[in-house]
């Protein structure tokens, strides 16, 4: 897994925190590790509601992340 870079799509106002719509970070093995890595890079994410989708699935709790997984950060929207 070393040296592999994950691509993470960032949606909504989370982009205000990440500064980009696409993040590239070092491969991690699971969702928990991913959120830890994201919180370290962007501490403001800790105070923000969002879900992590892995391979187009929103899974409650921890989940493994394979190489080349499709990862997205999705916040709730309220506008109408």
């Amino acid at each position: 897994m070393k040296g592999i870079i994950m691509v993470i799509l960032v949606f909504g106002q989370l982009q205000d925190i990440t500064g980009t719509d696409t993040l590239h970070i070092k491969q991690v093995e699971g969702k928990k590790q991913l959120s830890d890595a994201l919180f370290e890079l962007f501490p403001r994410l800790q105070e923000t509601k969002f879900v992590i989708a892995i391979d187009r699935q929103i899974i409650d709790g921890d989940a493994p992340i394979g190489p080349n997984a499709c990862i997205a950060l999705l916040p709730p929207f309220s506008g109408g």
Binding site: G12, Q13, T48, V51, R56, P75, S78
Partner: protein, 370 residues
């Protein structure tokens, strides 16, 4: 409606492969409740009425305002100040006289949901705030109504179908399976704060109304237990499957009694701000007025006042006990944050927020100026 008229009116839908008379009859017999006649509600109502939905219900407490017009395309300049549901009634009846229409000029609350949701086949959430979104979600779950959800943020939108049983009768998931609890106030900016281009709710509202048609007629695959996020700037689109959350939802009312008592404002972290949010009528000429918008904000207030942006307020402003300050912004939301912040830092000061923001400027001027 006579069959010949149905055939003429809906000819393009009837001749569509996979749709036809059977699907059209389902639309003509369907009852759909739309919560909110705003940016999403306008296209949803317009297209559903045009497509031949038999009965539409619309609940919305607001009146048409000037800033609605670029996106709420059912309304025109001459409608400013009128109750939205009254204008909706006029426009939709003109569009399709066979439509049965029920309208309510107030906000959807728990009592309304328990009373009215059961009379409709499905509910469409086109509202513009989290408390109502959770209220509608929980109400649909309690009354067993499918919910077609959509929401927008800046250049992006989300659409999903909740609470829809599958063909075997297995219940659908609901909004809380994705977002069990609401973000704190100010975390997600709404259209009034973050801005929006009218085409976005137009696009997302059309997707949402298409989901309504799919649920009613059974064509295609509705976004059942799936969340679509669409990014108009880059044409990115992502559909994700929602899996059941393993935990129960401790913060979700499970009975009608709990539901009626549940405080959705509190659940969404809205502070109790009675006495802090004020109308222009409480003002007097000696009151200190502080505009908390960023520099260059428009429209200007045109009164003697100070500018201290919300982001700098904490370091700059000192208030003495008993001092009265009125905070002002464009909508009344940032000024509320300012007033709450100052109330916390200087509990003996009297910090107020002008309800409705600069938009209520004309009444402010009348009150203060001789």
């Amino acid at each position: 409606m006579e069959n010949a008229l149905v055939y003429d009116r809906y000819q393009r839908q009837l001749s569509l492969k996979g749709f036809g008379l059977e699907a059209q009859q389902k639309l003509l017999h369907a009852r759909v409740l739309v919560v909110g006649a705003g940016g999403l509600g306008c296209p949803v109502l317009q297209y559903l009425a045009a497509a031949g939905i038999g009965q539409l219900g619309v609940v919305d407490p607001d009146r048409v305002s000037l800033s609605n017009l670029p996106r709420q395309v059912l309304f025109s300049d001459a409608d400013i100040g009128r109750q939205k549901v009254d204008v909706v009634r006029e426009r939709l009846q003109a569009l399709n006289p066979a439509l049965q229409l029920e309208t309510w000029p107030y906000a959807c609350d728990a009592a309304f949901a328990l009373d009215i949701f059961p009379h409709y086949d499905l509910v469409v959430d086109t509202c513009d705030n989290f408390p109502t979104r959770y209220l509608v979600n929980d109400g649909c779950w309690l009354t067993g109504r499918p919910l077609v959800h959509a929401a927008v943020s800046e250049y992006e939108g989300q659409v999903a179908v909740f609470n829809l049983p599958d063909k075997l009768g297995i219940p659908g998931l609901h909004y809380r399976h994705v977002f069990p609890s609401a973000p704190s106030p100010g975390e997600v900016r709404d259209c009034a704060e973050a801005g929006v281009l009218g085409m976005l709710p137009g696009i997302i509202g059309c997707m949402q109304s298409f989901e309504v048609v799919k649920v009613i007629t059974g064509i295609g695959e509705p976004l059942r237990n799936r969340l679509l996020t669409y990014d108009t700037l880059r044409h990115r689109q992502l559909v994700v499957n929602i899996l059941p959350a393993s935990d129960a939802f401790p913060e979700m009312p499970t009975s009608a009694e709990d539901y009626l008592r549940f405080d959705y404002g509190h659940f969404c972290g809205l502070p109790q701000y009675a006495g802090i949010e004020v109308e222009a009528s409480v003002l007097h000429p000696d009151m200190r007025i502080i505009d908390v918008r960023e520099p260059g904000a428009w429209p200007t207030i045109g009164l003697v006042h100070e500018y201290i942006p919300l982001s700098q307020l904490e370091g700059v402003l000192q208030l003495s006990p008993g001092e009265e300050v009125l905070f002002v912004c464009r909508t009344g939301r940032r000024s509320l944050q300012a007033a709450l912040l100052m109330k916390e830092r200087f509990p003996l000061s009297r910090s107020y927020s002008l309800k409705g923001g600069v938009q209520s400027l004309s009444s402010l001027k009348k009150t203060i100026l001789p």
